[in-house]
């Protein structure tokens, strides 16, 4: 019924008491895509992923995974998905090998095939030398790769990763994303949540969730083009806080945010550079430089979240 879609979500809602953790979201993920689900902590990422995997029951709305209904056919879904949680659901008191064998057995992978999968996982995760080590003795990065391997032992169609890189060092994160690419090249749909912007850049498509609502959807490139209409200016000026106050009153600067040692300003066009520079210098701020830059995903999300906050405040007033 869903054609080429691995995941379809239609008006999904999850409330905990009066709190709407997921608030009427709809989207779909085509097969074979790396779909990034992005948002700050507590935005509703994990809640959504848990509903899709059948761990949580939705309050309202519908969804399908691998063509099966999340409410009516959770067991069919379970056989076709792999899931890796933030906690790397591994048994620390079992060896690397035993963890793979356990999950393989639970998913009903037959003996001969399991031996083959085990070899593949150990190789992929670079754990062949450590097959007989207790899992608790592994460094976090290795645990993470083993958890990925266990989630893939039954060759799922769709892989759900819930903040898989939380608490992992940058090098391990890099390696981990290489593995995700490998998996995706083999045709597996990857649905990953994260709050790291650099990881978001790796995804084919992104959904941004904020306060339970899906506020943006598209490829990283599309998002950058679509949501920062106008020009993004990077301003280096001293003192920076005085500059921030001045820009807040400057009609040419639509949005202002501190970005490291500089300020990022959204303007209608690059023509706004000169009036802004004059306004700052009039206010006694020494301007080092003002450049038009290509927005990063972070700029996009800061802009989107501010818009969402303003809409919420406007609606509430």
């Amino acid at each position: 019924m869903t054609g080429g879609h691995a995941v379809v979500v239609d008006d999904l809602v999850k409330t905990f008491g009066s709190f709407a953790a997921v608030d009427h979201i709809s989207f779909s993920v085509p097969k074979g895509e790396i779909f990034g689900f992005l948002g700050p902590n507590g935005a509703g990422k994990s809640t959504t992923i848990r509903m899709l995997c059948g761990i949580l029951t939705p309050t309202a709305g519908r969804g399908s995974v691998a063509g099966y209904d999340i409410l009516a056919e959770p067991e069919q879904i379970k056989e076709r998905i792999g899931y890796m949680s933030q906690k790397f659901s591994l048994y620390e008191d079992l060896t690397v090998e035993e963890n793979i064998e356990f999950y393989g057995g639970v998913y009903g992978v037959p003996g001969a095939r399991l031996a083959e999968r085990k070899r593949w996982i150990l190789e992929m995760a670079a754990l062949s030398q450590r097959a007989r080590s207790l899992t608790r003795e592994l460094a976090t990065g290795w645990k993470q790769r083993l958890a990925l391997g266990c989630a893939l032992v039954h060759e799922p169609e769709i892989l759900f990763l819930d903040e898989p890189t939380a608490g992992v060092d940058p090098v391990s994160r890099r390696n981990f994303w290489d593995l995700i690419y490998t998996v995706a090249r083999q045709g597996v749909t990857v649905f990953v949540t994260t709050h790291y912007m650099d990881e978001a850049e790796h995804c084919d498509r992104l959904g941004l969730i904020y306060r339970g609502k899906l506020i943006a959807l598209g490829s990283p490139q599309q998002l950058k083009e679509r949501y920062v209409a106008g020009a993004l200016l990077e301003i280096r000026a001293q003192p920076i806080m005085a500059a921030l106050d001045l820009l807040a009153q400057e009609p040419g600067a639509k949005e202002v945010a501190v970005f490291g040692a500089a300020l990022h300003v959204v303007a209608d066009s690059e023509a706004a550079i000169d009036p802004i520079r004059r306004a700052l210098e009039r206010g006694g701020v020494s301007v080092e430089r003002i450049d038009a830059i290509i927005p990063s995903l972070e700029d996009v999300f800061v802009a989107l979240i501010e818009q969402a906050d303003q809409t919420a405040a406007g609606g509430g007033a």
Binding site: Y83, G105, V106, G108
Partner: protein, 377 residues
């Protein structure tokens, strides 16, 4: 399905074998408890400290004292010279019971009068006190029978004549020496297994929840009943080893005879274990962390099993409501079974009722577990 149960089972076994703490609990705890309870919870009263204040100081009075001191129930610890000293001896706990023989004891005896004398008992420990009184009574009765017999004989009647018209010859069946151990050890087997089983299984589901592995299990195709069975089986096997360990220790350390069928005992133990482990598993599905699970397991098993199972206090003496309540405590039914098999050698024909009740409790508890553990967070 079988494969998945087996996988859970195997995983659980490996985890238990790698966990020294669990292993220690499994091996050391039952024996330790048996020894502690077996020796400490001893209802036999022996060597009660007796103080004597003999105002009469005659052959007859010494004879009475001798009747006490010859019995191993009483040890004469002091000979006193005044009422004041009697009070002192009881106050400072040197003696638990005082025997006061009045002046003219032997003179009155000779005249064939009823001769009163005093036994003052420290009632602060009522259990010991009432048992001690029982023993004292028996000694006194024997003594008066001998005295009247001697008097009658002196009066010239033939011995063996109908001097004592009614003579109760009491005999205790099943435990002829009234050894506490014979009564306690089979009971202890029930209590120990109950606590141990609940303790062991109460951790298993919570542990998965604490470590986050529960999410992977929920997302996997494992059905709740497969998970519950897979988790239960290793503990049944371990608890079974404990059954044998505790029975063997009871036989060797306390020389408790096993009169009945060992096979029946083993079968009944299996039924009991299912119920006991089921309680632990149920606790595990409802508690948030291992600490809570352990506390609930101790509270839910230890106290009711000790107090309401008939282990220490007879159920017949309890108020009706509580007597009804005792039926939901597995140890209560198992206690009847173990004691009967151990001491009376009862067969299934006499025991089907508690066995059936245990079976029903077990099935009910395991069903509750599977229902409670829905595959959701």
């Amino acid at each position: 399905m079988i494969l998945r149960i087996w996988m859970v089972c195997w995983k659980e076994f490996v985890q238990i074998l790698r966990d020294m703490r669990t292993l220690a609990v499994v091996v050391v705890l039952p024996v330790l408890m048996l020894v502690l309870y077996g020796y400490a919870v001893n209802l036999d009263v022996r060597h009660v400290r007796l103080a004597v204040y003999d105002q009469d100081r005659t052959r007859e009075s010494r004879d009475l004292i001798g009747a006490f001191s010859r019995s191993e129930r009483f040890d004469v610890v002091a000979y006193l010279d005044s009422d004041h000293q009697v009070t002192e001896a009881l106050d400072d706990g040197r003696a638990r019971i005082a025997l006061v023989i009045p002046l003219r004891y032997s003179a009155n005896l000779a005249r064939g009068r009823v001769v009163p004398f005093q036994l003052i008992v420290d009632g602060s420990d009522s259990t010991t006190a009432s048992t001690a009184i029982g023993y004292a009574n028996a000694i006194v009765q024997q003594q008066s029978a001998r005295i009247s017999l001697a008097a009658v004989q002196r009066a010239g009647l033939a011995a063996g004549g109908a001097v004592i018209p009614v003579d109760a010859r009491m005999r205790f069946w099943y435990n002829p020496e009234l050894k506490s151990a014979n009564f306690m050890v089979p009971g202890l087997i029930a209590i120990i297994l109950m606590m141990l089983s609940a303790l062991l299984t109460s951790m298993t589901v919570v542990r998965e929840r604490e470590r986050g592995t529960i999410e992977s299990l929920i997302v996997s195709p494992v059905m709740p009943y497969e998970l519950m069975l897979g988790k239960l089986i290793p503990y049944v096997i371990i608890a079974f080893a404990d059954v044998i360990l505790v029975i063997a220790a009871g036989r060797l350390l306390f020389r408790v005879p096993l009169v009945g069928s060992p096979v029946l005992l083993v079968i009944c133990s299996a039924i009991f274990l299912t119920a006991a482990l089921g309680i632990g598993l149920l606790i595990s599905t409802i508690s948030g962390n291992q600490q809570t699970a352990m506390t609930i397991a101790m509270m839910a098993t230890q106290l009711p099993s000790m107090l309401l199972s008939g282990f220490l206090f007879p159920i017949n003496a309890m108020p009706t409501v509580i007597r009804w309540l005792t039926n939901i405590i597995p140890a209560r039914h198992f206690l009847v079974i173990v004691r009967s098999i151990f001491l009376k050698g009862s067969g299934i024909a006499l025991l089907w009722q508690p066995v059936l009740l245990l079976l029903m409790l077990g099935v009910f508890l395991l069903t509750m577990c599977s229902v409670r553990f829905r595959k959701k967070l």
